[in-house]
């Protein structure tokens, strides 16, 4: 195992943890965070795989793809956050619920202080 394999494994771990969070968390900002983290995990794998062959000569093609991906991820994050704020302003709740009137409490939400 070369040292650069560590980054590929870290990318796999980041992707899986973020995927779990995207599925289980209900808060929309957390979902956007998780999608961002999934993207960065993919970037790590994408860049660590060619660096494994020869760490001194960088492969320019994955670097260009990752560079484009970062910029696209920022734009997509801005769009997703705008949509989340729209949901919040329409329903008054930062969770996606079927019926905003009978919004079931999120398991992540803290208990209201009694």
């Amino acid at each position: 195992m070369t040292p650069l394999d560590l980054y590929a494994w870290a990318g796999v771990a980041v992707f899986l943890l973020a995927l779990h969070a995207v599925v289980t968390r209900a808060h929309l900002i957390w979902k956007v965070l998780g999608i961002n983290l999934m993207g960065t995990g993919v970037f790590l794998i994408l860049l660590a795989a060619p660096a494994r062959r020869d760490p001194l000569v960088a492969d320019p093609l994955p670097q260009g793809m990752v560079l484009t991906g970062i910029v696209v991820a920022v734009a997509a994050t801005a769009l997703a956050l705008g949509m989340a704020l729209r949901v919040m302003s329409r329903t008054g709740s930062p969770f996606l619920t079927v019926d905003p009137e009978s919004a079931d409490p999120d398991p992540d939400a803290p208990e209201p202080p009694s």
Partner: protein, 97 residues
């Protein structure tokens, strides 16, 4: 050549461990503000990882866009949600002053 390689291995391992640990804590915490700050720290650690992978241009883009602009976007969204929520205690937002 073997001696710097070993020390470099420790550095790579620490960066990778920090990446995974930050994501683990970020996605399991309860406070949204803490998650956003940890996301910024994660972006900076990722820039270090890309420096180690021999791609300083991506590190530049990640530090400026991935950590800075995205962190500011998340802070903006968090602030607007918290302001709109007002005194709604149901929302999982950190409220200790």
């Amino acid at each position: 050549m073997t001696e710097p390689l070993t020390v470099g291995f420790v550095l790579d391992g620490l960066v990778a461990l920090l990446l995974v640990g930050l994501v683990f804590r970020l996605l399991r915490t309860r406070h949204l503000f803490e998650a956003i700050m940890l996301y910024v720290a994660y972006g900076l650690t990722l820039a270090l990882a890309w420096v180690r992978l021999g791609a300083p241009d991506i590190a530049l883009a990640e530090a400026a866009l991935g950590a800075g602009v995205t962190g500011a976007l998340f802070l903006n969204a968090w602030h607007r949600m918290a302001v709109r929520a007002g005194a709604d205690e149901r929302l999982p937002m950190e409220s200790d002053p």
